[in-house]
């Protein structure tokens, strides 16, 4: 539920952004270099190539982005209210503002335009051009988008009606196809390159087309225009399908920067062409341009939506207010913006002063009018579905009624330093970890044991933030190991890592020390690790064991609070191993917590406070070394006897037998009973020994059981 509402917050923000971008776009239109007088309300005396380029870029995508989000919300509403409720709602929110808005705005716009054009022509404006005498011609002004929206609602309602008449099987097939199609297209980045093809084809078919204008604005006719209808219908339908899809938004949020990178590249090329050849004559360039334009539309739309999902998913009162205000602001902005443009048009000032002025002044008027006239009144009720009293009560109803995303709370209570909770991690089809829970407590050494391929290194990688789990939660020092500040508290010695062979040991330690907030002095690190004598040797010239020692020095140089040692003593001679063990004990005494993976069981037995045994990606046992022994409750019986090993294996209380020359080795769960029976059955039995099973036997028995 929360994730849903978070998503709606982000998409609301995107819709608001697209609309406010439209205001900024129109505010730039009086500064277009080379536009003949009369095309816009004003031709400013300080034209700007920069604003022309910026306007072009925003114009590529802002309406398509709007219709994409509109499609998303349309399906949401359709499924919430049903067809009848949907149309009642849309009638109030879209059709009424279209009609009422046009009636009020058209004369005002006409007045401002007349004033502006009179000023541009120095008091003697030419006669206004007549509307073209073709069927359907109508000056929709900037409200065309509401009209277009209504036509899209009609189209999608008709399509739904056809769909409803289909049989259940083809319906299911179509649904599955749409879902797989949309999520595949987004996941594989195909969408960016294909969604724009229909609009590109429509643009190529135009007899006259200026590159700068992009999708020609359908504001002169009630008859749907081809490129706009094709382009915006595609956007609307894809938005609708994204709402259907279970994972499309997640994919978009992940891919935001990929799509934005495509957007930047495509836009760069489009700008290049617009600068060199503004008029599109039919030919290869025009076709390529139309296609790249389609790519740019979708790269921007998907990228910006993804970025919003990624970064703006939490509730923000300010964003919510702006998003609510954006509809009114877009409806009302045109005469306001144009009036400021006309007023400022002949000022002897640079555009970089005038444009911000027009923008700030327009937004000030528009936000103020929203706050005072719209938000508390029936207009707000009409446009946004509710009105807010001007004087707000102590509790802001907006904040109270909107589900607030849950406060981030720290699940890592103070009692563990690092945890894996319910972790599942797959590599392709290979399950490395499955439902694993492991916890490292302060000041303890946790030995993680297991045969090769049990998932030990994967567990360590998760704690180091090198990989992320498919399910479950990883914490390190109370946060996510993905946060670098958490990782500053760790030291690590990894398996299969080679360091820079050209650098000397001292340099390697100095380099690693530079990453930490409060490292040990380099000489102290070298001394503690017992490698002062190796300090000036290049790493490439060290033996295998010496390399491990250097890596240990690098692991402890930052005074870690948690130390991860992945098979640290492989290849060490006895002396070096004992020095390392000593160092580990000192670190434990200083309060450092340590995770150790090892194949050497005596290492775990001599150092570990607790043991976790992994096999086939599961924790099959965990506890103190003694608990582990008790858990398996096995004792080892050994004697010289002529009894058959296979027969003894069948006795109750015997878990395994092994013949070793004259000696028979028995692992027993009930040693007393087995010894009694041995003595009874073989009177010649000699040299009987009974001892507690070590960790090695426990480990072998456990992993065999797991297998």
């Amino acid at each position: 539920m929360n994730t849903d509402s978070q998503r709606l917050h982000s998409l609301d923000a995107v819709r608001g952004f697209a609309l406010l971008l439209g205001v900024a776009f129109h505010a730039a239109l009086s500064f277009m270099p080379g536009w003949p007088p009369g095309i816009w309300a004003m031709n400013d005396n300080s034209p700007s190539q920069f604003l022309s380029d910026a306007g072009f870029v925003t114009h590529i995508f802002r309406m398509s982005l709007f219709f994409f989000i509109a499609g998303y919300f349309a399906r949401l509403l359709y499924h919430k209210l049903g067809a009848r409720g949907f149309w009642a709602n849309r009638g109030l929110r879209i059709a009424v503002p279209l009609v009422a808005g046009w009636v009020v705005l058209f004369p005002i716009i006409g007045y401002v335009w007349t004033a502006g054009i009179t000023k541009v022509f120095g008091g003697a404006p030419p006669a206004m051009p007549e509307m073209p005498k073709v069927p359907g011609a109508f000056p929709l002004t900037h409200l065309w988008f509401l009209y277009q929206l209504l036509t899209l609602y009609v189209a999608v309602t008709l399509l739904r009606a056809v769909f409803e008449r289909m049989g259940d099987a083809p319906k299911q097939k179509l649904r599955a196809l749409a879902d797989a199609g949309i999520s595949g297209a987004l996941r594989l980045n195909i969408g960016v390159f294909t969604f724009g093809i229909p609009v590109a084809a429509a643009l190529v078919s135009l007899p006259i087309w200026f590159y700068w204008q992009g999708i020609p604005t359908p504001d002169q006719s009630l008859i749907p225009q081809l490129p706009a209808t094709v382009g915006f219908f595609t956007a609307f339908v894809i938005g609708w399908l994204v709402n259907r899809s279970s994972d499309a938004l997640t994919i978009l949020a992940k891919k935001w920067w990929v799509n934005l990178a495509f957007a930047v590249i495509a836009t760069g090329w489009l700008l290049h062409v617009v600068h060199t050849t503004p008029m599109a004559t039919p030919g290869t360039t025009r076709t390529v341009y139309a296609y790249v334009f389609g790519v740019a539309i979708w790269a921007w739309s998907l990228g910006l939506t993804g970025a919003a999902l990624r970064f703006l998913s939490n509730y923000s009162a300010v964003r919510r207010y702006i998003a609510d205000a954006s509809y009114w602001i877009y409806l009302a902005h045109l005469p306001v913006v144009a009036a400021f443009q006309v007023w400022a048009g002949h000022w002897p000032l640079h555009w970089s002063v005038k444009y911000p002025f027009i923008l700030v002044a327009s937004f000030a008027v528009l936000f103020l009018s929203y706050h005072l006239l719209v938000r508390p009144s029936f207009i707000g009720q009409l446009l946004n579905g509710r009105k807010y009293p001007l004087r707000k009560p102590k509790q802001d109803p907006a904040a109270a009624s909107v589900p607030i995303s849950p406060l981030p709370h720290d699940k890592g209570n103070g009692s563990s330093v690092a945890t894996l909770r319910g972790i599942t991690k797959k590599y392709g089809t290979n399950v490395a970890l499955s439902g694993v829970d492991i916890e490292l407590r302060p000041g303890e050494l946790l030995a993680v044991l297991g045969p090769n391929g049990a998932g030990k290194t994967t567990a360590i990688s998760l704690w180091l933030g090198l990989t992320e789990p498919d399910a479950g939660e990883v914490t390190l020092l109370g946060g996510s190991p993905q946060q670098i500040d958490r990782r500053r508290g760790l030291g690590v010695m990894m398996q299969d890592v080679e360091m820079y062979k050209e650098l000397k040991v001292r340099e390697l330690v100095a380099l690693a020390s530079s990453y930490y907030t409060n490292p040990l002095p380099v000489e102290d690190t070298l001394h503690r690790s017992g490698i002062t004598a190796l300090a000036d040797k290049p790493y490439g010239k060290l033996s295998g064991g010496q390399k491990r020692q250097a890596q240990f020095a690098v692991a402890i140089c930052g005074r870690p609070r948690v130390l991860f040692l992945d098979e640290p003593t492989v290849g060490l001679d006895v002396q070096a191993r004992e020095l390392l063990w000593l160092n580990v004990r000192i670190l434990l005494a200083e309060g450092c917590s340590i995770v150790l993976t090892t194949h050497y069981l005596e290492e775990a037995e001599s150092l570990a406070s607790r043991v976790a045994v992994l096999a086939r990606g599961r924790v099959i046992a965990s506890g103190s070394v003694d608990e582990m022994r008790a858990l398996v409750a096995r004792r080892q019986i050994s004697c010289e006897t002529s009894l058959d090993a296979g027969a003894v294996r069948q006795w109750s209380g015997v878990s395994e037998t092994r013949r070793d020359g004259a000696r028979l080795n028995i692992v027993a769960t009930d040693a007393e009973a087995v010894v009694r029976r041995l003595l009874t059955e073989d009177s010649n039995l000699r040299r009987l020994e009974v001892r507690e099973a070590g960790l090695a036997e426990a480990f072998t028995a456990l992993t065999r059981e797991a297998a």
Partner: protein
């Protein structure tokens, strides 16, 4: 995201220590380069030898008649000199370091996310300067670079700055492919660009539409503006700069993204 309640302040790297981490990383990267001179020699010698052959021996007379040809050829080979060490040096070393597991270790350790990036780019640029200076000296001595001192400084700055996107391209390739494959992929991207960008010979008009795709085109354009050769200026200088910045951002972003996931 979470755990705001815990005191993380003590683990934040203060700005001075962060700066020190960047400097240390760069210093050691540079020392590694100096201790490994075998890599330097071919990258410096190949463009220089080609330049002497084509510009001095073969085209020497033509340059005496048409000064802009001299600048054009100098720019072409100088672009080669400044981009090859950046691209090939960085892609190979990064790919190797990834194979060694070093990038995983650095990430866990935890190295500041940008430090290795800055270190590699700074050293890549220094390497490019080392490859560029002999060629500049040769061109001045042979008289095949008919520019005044100010223009020589400008074109040098343009070329050296232009090596940065190639450092980033090297990072991207090094981040995407494994050890020994890196030079192969680097060539696959680099060589077509040398010809299709019109760097070595002017292209017919029908091929102009695709030139902006190649970083080589933009760095050559930058050089043409620096040397004021209007004949070979095809796009506004702002666009060439914007494209080079764009390529740098794009390539580095891919490299960082990839390394953040795969190490």
């Amino acid at each position: 995201m979470n755990a705001l309640t815990l005191d993380t302040r003590s683990d934040l790297l203060p700005p001075r220590r962060a700066l020190a981490a960047y400097l240390t990383e760069t210093r050691f990267e540079f020392m590694r380069m100096l201790r490994n001179p075998t890599l330097v020699i071919p990258v410096v010698l190949v463009p220089l030898a080609l330049y002497l052959l084509f510009a001095v021996v073969i085209a020497g007379e033509a340059i005496a008649k048409d000064a802009s040809l001299g600048v054009y050829l100098f720019a072409a080979f100088a672009v080669m000199a400044v981009t090859m060490p950046a691209l090939f040096g960085i892609s190979a070393s990064l790919a190797l370091e990834r194979e060694m597991g070093l990038m995983r270790l650095k990430r866990a350790q935890p190295a500041p996310p940008g430090s290795w990036l800055v270190a590699k780019i700074v050293c890549g640029v220094v390497f490019c300067v080392l490859a560029y200076l002999p060629m500049l000296a040769a061109a001045i001595l042979a008289g095949t670079l008919p520019l005044d001192a100010g223009q020589i400084v400008l074109i040098s700055l343009a070329l050296i700055a232009g090596s940065i996107p190639f450092c980033a391209l090297g990072l991207m390739i090094g981040a995407l492919v494994k050890g020994s494959a890196a030079p192969g992929y680097a060539n696959l991207i680099y060589l077509p660009g040398c010809y299709l960008s019109g760097m070595f010979f002017p292209l017919p008009a029908s091929m102009h539409w695709q030139t902006p795709v190649w970083p080589q085109f933009h760095i050559t354009q930058l050089a043409m503006y620096a040397a004021d050769v209007t004949k070979h200026q095809h796009i506004p200088v702002q666009m060439a700069i914007a494209a080079l910045v764009g390529f740098t951002v794009l390539f580095s972003a891919v490299a960082i993204w990839r390394l953040a996931r795969k190490g």
